[in-house]
C-alpha cells in the first residue's frame, strides 16, 4: 500500500535534446515534463483532458500531456513550448500572438501555440472555420478567442510559419 512503485526509465527526445529520466509508472507526461524535468512552460489546467492547456506534440501529433503517461514518451519525440522559438527569434506564431495581443493571463497560451503550430504544419493556410474547429479543444477564458484566430491567420499569411523546428 505504501511502497513506492518502481520507476521506469524513459529515453525520449524533448525539444530536440535526448533525455533519459526515471518516471513513476502512473506519472503523466505532463508530470514528467513539469515535475521531473522542470519544464514548466507546459501548463496544467484541468488535468483531465478538457482544457488543452497542457498540449504538447508527441511524434508530431498534438496530445493533452495530462492524458498520456510519461512512460509512453519512451522512444518518442516530445516538443513543448520551450522549444518553439528559433535561435534567430520567436516562431512566427509566437510573434503573431504577441503582436495581436492574442493572450491575456497567458495560462492557455502555450497550449494554443503548440496546437496552432500543428495545424499550420499540416495546413499552411487554413480557413477561419478550420482554425476555430482545430483549436476548439483549447479553452481560453480571457480573450473571447477573436484575437487568437487573428494571430493564427496572421502567422499563416507569413511564409514558413508551419516550418518550425518541430516540423522535421
Amino acid at each position: 500500500m505504501t511502497t513506492q512503485p518502481k520507476k521506469a526509465r524513459v529515453s525520449t527526445t524533448v525539444n530536440g535534446q535526448p533525455v533519459d529520466v526515471l518516471v513513476a509508472p502512473y506519472q503523466s507526461l505532463l508530470e514528467m515534463l513539469r515535475e521531473v524535468l522542470g519544464l514548466t512552460g507546459t501548463k496544467e489546467g484541468c488535468n483531465d483532458g478538457n482544457c488543452g492547456a497542457c498540449t504538447v506534440s508527441l511524434d508530431g501529433r498534438i496530445v493533452d500531456s495530462c492524458l498520456v503517461l510519461g512512460a509512453e514518451a519512451d522512444g518518442k519525440r516530445v516538443d513543448t513550448i520551450e522549444g518553439m522559438a528559433r535561435p534567430e527569434g520567436l516562431h512566427p506564431l509566437q510573434q503573431a500572438f504577441l503582436e495581436e495581443a492574442a493572450l491575456q493571463c497567458g495560462i492557455c497560451t502555450p497550449g494554443f501555440l503548440v496546437a496552432a503550430r500543428a495545424l499550420l504544419e499540416r495546413e499552411p493556410h487554413p480557413s477561419e472555420e478550420r482554425i476555430r474547429l482545430w483549436l476548439a479543444g483549447n479553452l481560453c477564458r480571457c480573450t473571447g478567442y477573436d484575437k487568437i484566430v487573428g494571430a493564427v491567420r496572421k502567422a499563416a499569411a507569413l511564409d514558413g510559419a508551419g516550418n518550425g523546428r518541430a516540423a522535421g
Binding site: 478538457n50 513550448i81 493572450l103 479553452l139 477564458r141 473571447g144
Partner: protein
C-alpha cells in the same frame, strides 16, 4: 541636431508588457515555482452537506512514508476562520461541516501522490444534520439555522436583529415604490432564476507558503488583492502584518474569483507544522466543487408602468444563495446588485438583495458581483413589460433611458450621460433595421457601471544606462494593467511604451493597494503611472539644469534627450544621470476612493436564429457598444470586451454549475461547458470615445461591464425570434423546445 520627434503611447495599440514570457513558456505562475524542500499540501473534504464531526482518526495517514504532517481542525486554535469581510470560513472544519467539499483535514507530504494516499487513510466519523440547499427555503421562518452564532461574527456589514440564515440584507433605490405602484397604470410581476456559474479561469487556485529564516511568512499565490490578502491572512493566523509578505507572481486569470485567502492560511499552518515550504494547487474538480463561484439568484421583480411604456416603479427582491459561508465577498454583500436598472431613469425604485446561508458551495465574486444577475432581471423585465403592453421593446427602452440631468434608478446623477448614443451605436453595428429571416430575432440589453475607486502606488526610475523602470503595487491577473502603466509613463516621458520596464513590488514596499477589481485599475493606475513619471521628469530636469548649467525653465524632456528650448541644444538624459551618480526616482501615491462623476454604458444587441423544431438557439452575432472615455490601449480594451462577451455568452446559453443535494455534478470541463472558439458568434465592437472620463487621461472602467448584459440580450432575441420567453438561465435548446411546445398547446 534636430529636435526629437514627440512620441505618443497612450491611445495606440500596445502589445502586452508581459507577452514574451507568456508566448515562450517562461512566465512563472505559482504552480511553476520550485523551492528546495517543498512539500505538497492536499485537503480532505467533506462528503456531507451538513454534519457534525464525531471523530477523526489520522493515525494511519501519519505513518505513510513521506508524510510530514497531518492537520485537522483540532490542531488549529479555536475558531480559526478567515473572511474578506465577514469572518466565517473555517480554515479546517472545527466540529461542523456545512458543504460538500469543505476542508476537514490536510496532509503535507513529499509529493502529491503520497499526500493523496495519506488522505485516503484518514477516517472521519460524521453525524449527518438536516441540510438546506434552496435559498428560498433557508429564509423561511423556522428553517434550520446553519450558523447559530452568526450574531457574533466579525465583519457583518450590518448587525442582525436575530440569528438568521439571511446574513446580509441590502437595500438600494430612490423615490417611494409603494407610491409608484399606486401611480402606475399597470403592474407586472416576474420571477427570474439564475444558476451558479464558475469563473473558470484555466489556472486553478495555487499557493506556495514558506516561513523564512527570519520567521517571516513568504507567500506566493494566485491572488489579485495582495494587500487585502495580507490583512486577512494576518488576522486569521494571528501574526502582525509585517511578518507576512505577499510576493508577486503571474496570475492565470481571475474574473473576480481570485481575491480570497482560500487555502493560504492552511498552507501556513502546514508550513509551521512541517518547517518546510508548502505548495497547494487545487485539482480542477476541487475548483469547480469547492472554490468560490458566482452566486445563483432568484429575482422577484415587480414593474409599474404606464400604457405608453413609461416605467414608473421597479422593485426587485434578489435572493442570492451565498452557500455555506459569506466570507468570500469583500463587502459582505454583492454591491453590483444595485445596478440592474442603472441605465434608466426610474423615479421609484427599490432593489433589495439578500445573502442567504445554505449547505452549498460558498459563493464569491465574479466579474461585476451581483450585476449580471440583476441586469438579467431588469433587462428581461423591460422586454416583458413592452410585450405585455403591446409596444416594441426598443421603444420602451428609449422612453426610459437615462438622459443628461436625470437621476438613475439608484437616485445617482452622473455627468455626460451617453446611454442613448451607446444604444444607437450598438443598434447600428447590429444592423438593427436590416430585414430578418424567419425565426431570426434580435434583442437588446444595456447597463452602466462607473469605474471604482482605490489606492495604488507607483515609482518611475530613470537609470544611467537610459533604462526606465516602473514599479507598481498592482498584481495583475491578465487584464493588461502593466501595459497601461507602461503606456502612461512612456507618454509622460515621450518614449515608446516598450522603453518602460514594469516591475512589481511585493507587499513590503508600500502600505496598501486596493487590488484589482471593481473596474478600478485603469482609473487609479493611469494617475499613479503618469504622476510618478511626471515627478521623475521634473527631478531629472532640475538635475540637468544644475549639471549642465542650463536654465531650468527652458528645459523639456523629449524621449532620450533633454532639450534646451532657447538654444535648441539637446543632451542625453542618461548622461546627466551618469554624471550625477544616482538614478532619478519619481513616485506617486494615489488614493482616489470616492464615486466617479461619470459612468460607462454598455449596450449589446444579440441576433439569434432558433430552430422551431428542436429549440436549438444559434447565436449569430453580438454587437457591443461601449462608452469608454479615452482609450489607453485599443488592443487591451478590445480584449477585455471580447472576453467579457464570451463569458456573457456562456452565462446566457451554456453554463450552469449543477448541484444535486449540494453536490456539484458538473465537476469537470467535460460537464461544465464554457464557450470554445467554435461556440463564439461574430462579435462587432464599437468604442465611443469622449473626454468625459476620470484622471489625466479621461478613462472609464471596462473590466466588468461587457459580460453583464449579454444574457438578457440573448433572452430578448429569442423571444423576438420565436415568441417564447426564457426566464431561467442558461437558455438551452431543451428549455426553448419546452416553451415552444407549451405555446403551441
Amino acid at each position: 541636431m534636430t529636435s526629437p520627434t514627440v512620441i505618443h503611447s497612450v491611445g495606440l495599440p500596445a502589445p502586452r508588457a508581459d507577452a514574451i514570457g507568456k508566448v515562450t513558456g517562461g512566465a512563472t505562475y505559482t504552480a511553476d515555482l520550485r523551492l528546495p524542500g517543498t512539500v505538497w499540501g492536499k485537503v480532505l473534504r467533506s462528503p456531507y452537506p451538513h454534519a457534525r464531526i464525531a471523530g477523526i482518526d489520522t493515525s494511519a495517514a501519519r505513518q505513510v512514508p513521506g508524510v510530514h504532517a497531518v492537520l485537522t481542525g483540532d490542531d488549529l486554535p479555536p475558531n480559526t476562520r478567515f473572511g474578506r469581510r465577514i469572518v466565517d470560513v473555517p480554515v479546517l472544519a472545527q466540529g461542523i461541516v456545512r458543504f460538500i467539499g469543505e476542508p476537514v483535514a490536510a496532509v503535507a507530504a513529499d509529493d502529491e501522490d503520497i499526500a493523496q494516499r495519506a488522505l485516503d487513510l484518514i477516517e472521519v466519523e460524521y453525524e449527518e444534520l438536516p441540510a438546506i440547499f434552496d435559498a428560498l427555503e433557508a429564509i423561511e421562518p423556522g428553517a434550520t439555522l446553519l450558523h447559530p452564532d452568526v450574531m457574533n461574527y466579525t465583519g457583518l456589514p450590518a448587525p442582525l436583529e436575530r440569528p438568521s440564515n439571511v446574513v446580509t440584507r441590502t437595500v438600494w433605490g430612490t423615490g417611494d415604490v409603494d407610491q409608484g405602484f399606486r401611480q402606475a397604470e399597470w403592474t407586472f410581476d416576474y420571477t427570474f432564476t439564475i444558476p451558479t456559474v464558475h469563473q473558470a479561469y484555466i489556472e486553478p487556485h495555487s499557493c506556495l507558503v514558506r516561513i523564512d529564516e527570519a520567521g517571516r511568512v513568504q507567500v506566493w499565490a494566485s491572488n489579485k488583492a495582495p494587500y487585502n490578502l495580507r490583512q486577512q491572512v494576518a488576522a486569521c493566523i494571528g501574526l502582525p502584518l509585517e511578518r507576512i509578505r505577499i510576493n508577486p507572481v503571474t496570475i492565470g486569470g481571475d474574473f473576480g474569483g481570485k481575491g480570497s485567502p482560500m487555502f493560504i492560511p492552511l498552507a501556513y499552518f502546514l508550513a509551521k507544522a512541517t518547517a518546510r515550504t508548502v505548495r497547494i494547487v487545487l485539482a480542477y474538480a476541487e475548483e469547480l466543487t469547492s472554490a468560490n463561484p458566482r452566486h445563483p439568484c432568484v429575482a422577484q421583480v415587480r414593474v409599474g408602468a404606464n400604457r405608453d411604456g413609461t416605467i414608473v416603479a421597479y422593485q426587485a427582491r434578489l435572493v442570492f444563495n451565498s452557500g455555506a459561508y459569506a466570507g468570500f465577498k469583500p463587502a459582505g454583500f454583492l454591491p453590483g446588485a444595485q445596478h440592474g436598472g442603472g441605465a434608466y431613469h426610474v423615479p421609484h425604485c427599490k432593489v433589495e438583495a439578500l445573502g442567504v446561508y445554505t449547505n452549498r458551495v460558498p459563493c464569491g465574486h465574479m466579474r461585476g458581483p451581483g450585476e449580471p444577475q440583476s441586469i438579467f432581471a431588469f433587462e428581461s423585465a423591460v422586454d416583458r413589460v413592452a410585450r405585455d403592453l403591446g409596444l416594441p421593446p426598443l421603444e420602451v427602452r428609449r422612453k426610459n433611458l437615462l438622459r443628461d440631468g436625470e437621476t438613475n434608478s439608484l437616485g445617482h446623477r452622473y455627468q455626460d450621460i451617453r446611454a442613448e448614443d451607446t444604444l444607437n451605436a450598438a443598434l447600428e453595428a447590429a444592423g438593427w433595421d436590416a430585414p430578418k429571416g424567419k425565426n431570426v430575432g434580435r434583442g437588446v440589453a444595456i447597463c452602466e457601471r462607473a469605474p471604482g475607486g482605490g489606492e495604488t502606488h507607483a515609482n518611475v526610475t530613470l537609470h544611467a544606462d537610459g533604462s526606465v523602470v516602473l514599479h507598481t503595487s498592482i498584481f495583475e491577473q491578465g487584464s493588461g494593467s502593466y501595459t497601461t502603466l507602461q503606456q502612461v509613463a512612456a507618454e509622460e516621458l515621450g518614449l515608446p511604451h516598450d522603453a518602460v520596464r514594469v516591475e512589481v513590488w511585493d507587499t513590503d514596499a508600500v502600505p496598501f493597494d486596493t487590488g484589482v477589481g471593481g473596474s478600478r485599475v485603469t482609473r487609479v493606475a493611469t494617475q499613479a503611472g503618469a504622476g510618478a513619471a511626471q515627478q521623475a521628469r521634473d527631478l531629472l530636469l532640475q538635475r540637468a539644469a544644475q549639471t549642465l548649467g542650463w536654465p531650468r525653465e527652458q528645459l523639456t524632456l523629449a524621449g532620450t534627450r533633454i532639450r534646451r528650448n532657447d538654444t535648441g541644444e539637446t543632451h542625453s538624459w542618461a548622461d546627466v544621470i551618469a554624471k550625477t551618480g544616482s538614478p532619478v526616482v519619481g513616485g506617486a501615491s494615489i488614493k482616489d476612493m470616492g464615486p466617479a462623476p461619470v459612468t460607462g454604458f454598455t449596450a449589446q444587441v444579440a441576433e439569434v436564429e432558433v430552430d422551431p423544431e428542436t429549440g436549438a438557439v444559434k447565436l449569430r452575432r453580438i454587437a457591443s457598444a461601449h462608452d469608454v472615455g479615452r482609450v489607453v490601449n485599443p488592443m487591451g480594451i478590445r480584449g477585455q470586451i471580447y472576453g467579457g462577451i464570451a463569458q456573457g455568452v456562456g452565462y446566457g446559453m451554456m453554463e450552469e454549475l449543477r448541484m444535486d443535494d449540494g453536490r456539484v455534478t458538473t465537476a469537470s470541463f467535460a460537464d461544465y461547458k464554457i464557450p470554445t472558439m467554435a461556440d463564439m458568434p461574430e462579435v462587432r465592437i464599437v468604442l465611443l470615445e469622449s473626454e468625459s472620463g476620470v484622471g489625466p487621461y479621461h478613462v472609464k472602467g471596462i473590466g466588468e461591464n461587457p459580460n453583464a448584459p449579454t444574457a438578457a440580450a440573448i433572452a430578448n432575441a429569442v423571444e423576438d425570434a420565436v415568441g417564447v420567453r426564457i426566464d431561467d438561465l442558461p437558455i438551452t435548446a431543451e428549455k426553448v423546445y419546452r416553451a415552444l411546445r407549451a405555446k403551441r398547446q
